[in-house]
């Protein structure tokens, strides 16, 4: 009896907490697209883009409305660590726009670089413009296309990039054709000789092992940055050593400071430790059950 009472009161507390959390979030905008519902919520000064009601399954992108330069979420901070490997890219490809945090930050650091962003969902592009301070220019282009379709097209027209960022994944759904060895090799073929790849990926579930061996099959060694999310950073040829990384990281202390984080915090995340099962099956166009693998903890 007392146990069930305890359970009930616990449940009530949980409900109350959930209600309080929801009450703080205000829905600012929502629109349906071909792919999903794009929602914008505000919680104090923080405005976020979500693809699920009340951001139930993670937030896609956030902005601090009072300090729009600040990078609120942690994974874009890690993605910018790619600059430690190649500090001055002249051309950048970003797959997946979200709220446009990455192109906005890169535009500030690299005023002259060409930045191409591929986004499949026109609604996301509209919302990024309207609510997330994202702007296109003669040097920042958005291409509305499937990531893989664009990469193949770029490959055929002989384009190359100094920095490629893959940010097309969601906690809930992975476009499986963007997580195969063939896709990564196509991406690799777009890199210039000094080009760098940064990918925002998964840190939990059985998929971790498969994803790791797939990146290893396409690129050999890579930096494996883990903190909430997992970010993979790699390039053609040998990876830089710690001293080189530290030297380039110093260049970014000041700009990263304006984004509200410390370059020195990102640096220690660069590790090459292989903490996965090397016998896991490589994901290919023929074998790509990424979403099924992501279900298994």
């Amino acid at each position: 009896m007392s146990r069930s009472l305890l359970l009930i009161s616990l449940l009530l507390c949980l409900l109350g907490a959930a209600h309080a959390a929801l009450a703080q979030q205000r829905l600012v905008h929502s629109e349906r697209s071909l792919y999903r519902e794009v929602l914008v919520y505000e919680n104090g000064d923080v405005r976020c883009m979500c693809f699920t009601r009340n951001c139930r399954v993670g937030r896609q992108s956030c902005i601090d409305t009072r300090h729009p330069d600040k990078i609120v979420m942690r994974y874009p901070q890690m993605m910018l660590g790619a600059l430690f490997v190649n500090p001055a890219p002249q051309s950048v490809l970003i797959v997946g726009l979200g709220g446009g945090t990455l192109p906005r930050a890169l535009r500030q650091i690299l005023p002259n670089a060409r930045i191409d962003v591929v986004e499949i969902d026109p609604a996301v592009v509209r919302v990024a413009h309207r609510y997330f301070d994202f702007a296109e220019s003669d040097r920042t282009h958005v291409i509305e296309s499937d990531g893989r379709v664009y990469v193949k097209r770029a490959q055929r027209s002989g384009q190359h990039y100094d920095l490629i960022m893959l940010d097309a994944f969601d906690h809930e759904y992975i476009p499986e054709h963007l997580l195969t060895q063939e896709f990564l090799l196509e991406v690799k073929s777009l890199l210039t000789p000094q080009g760098v790849l940064a990918a925002n990926t998964f840190s939990s579930s059985r998929l971790y092992e498969h994803e790791s061996v797939t990146y290893a099959a396409a690129f050999g060694k890579f930096f494996n940055l883990k903190r909430d999310n997992r970010v993979i950073i790699t390039r053609l040829g040998a990876l830089p050593d710690d001293a080189q990384l530290r030297a380039t990281a110093r260049q970014f202390a000041q700009p990263f400071d304006t984004f509200g984080f410390d370059a020195a915090e990102i640096l220690p995340l660069f590790t090459q430790e292989r903490d996965w099962d090397p016998r896991a099956r490589v994901l290919t166009d023929q074998y790509s059950p990424a979403n099924l693998l992501n279900l298994e903890r």
Binding site: I120, R148, F183
Partner: protein, 201 residues
């Protein structure tokens, strides 16, 4: 035996069509993505091919129907998947260059890759109805049972492929497995003689 085989062929054909349809999405994704319109293109082609297959199967059943021939239709449907196994990738690359719009590119690709096997699969059901129905009174019941078996097969093919098979096997391995099972059933039907249907006219 005849009856059982006719049902088996119809049920397996249902399984086969849906498994190929799901794997079709897999084959097109690297070239055209996996947007709703890619699925739309695939489903359109499957429905169109099935509908025309129904017409053709009904027509073909007018002329000396037999379980043998029904098995042959199943085997032909399976064999027309072979080009898909061998040439899907270069074909898709060529088609995506010829038609860069991902909607019409995927529609044309689905048409090229999946129309023929699905057309032959569509022939199976009406042809099997002809073998099963003996009198008018029972015709609805037989047709109902046949729809049941064939659509139940489709449900099983959809579930098994999307929940389990893609986790265990490569796309081409699954296609090859489907093809072999169809061929085995087709050959089995070929060796079963059909005294009953020869007497009917």
């Amino acid at each position: 035996m005849q009856t059982a085989l006719a049902y088996l062929i119809a049920g397996w054909s249902g399984f086969f069509v849906m498994a190929v349809e799901l794997l079709g999405g897999r084959l097109l994704a690297p070239t055209f993505g996996s947007s709703i319109y890619v699925w739309g293109a695939i489903i359109t082609v499957f429905m169109l091919a099935l509908s025309l297959g129904y017409l053709a199967g009904g027509r073909y059943s007018m002329n000396a129907p037999s379980v043998r021939r029904l098995g042959a239709i199943l085997a032909i449907a399976a064999l027309t998947v072979v080009p898909l196994l061998l040439f899907a990738e270069p074909m898709l690359d060529a088609l995506s260059v010829a038609v860069p719009d991902p909607r019409f590119g995927s529609l044309l690709s689905a048409l090229t890759l999946f129309f023929v096997p699905t057309f032959f699969s569509g022939m199976v059901s009406p042809y099997a109805v002809r073998l099963l129905v003996q009198d008018r009174r029972n015709s609805g019941r037989h047709a109902g049972q046949l729809y049941f078996v064939s659509t139940f097969g489709s449900a099983a093919g959809t579930l098994l492929t999307s929940f389990y098979l893609v986790l265990l096997l490569e796309v081409n391995q699954i296609l090859l497995g489907l093809l072999l099972i169809s061929t085995v059933i087709g050959v089995a039907a070929w060796f079963v003689h059909a005294p009953r249907n020869e007497n009917e006219q």
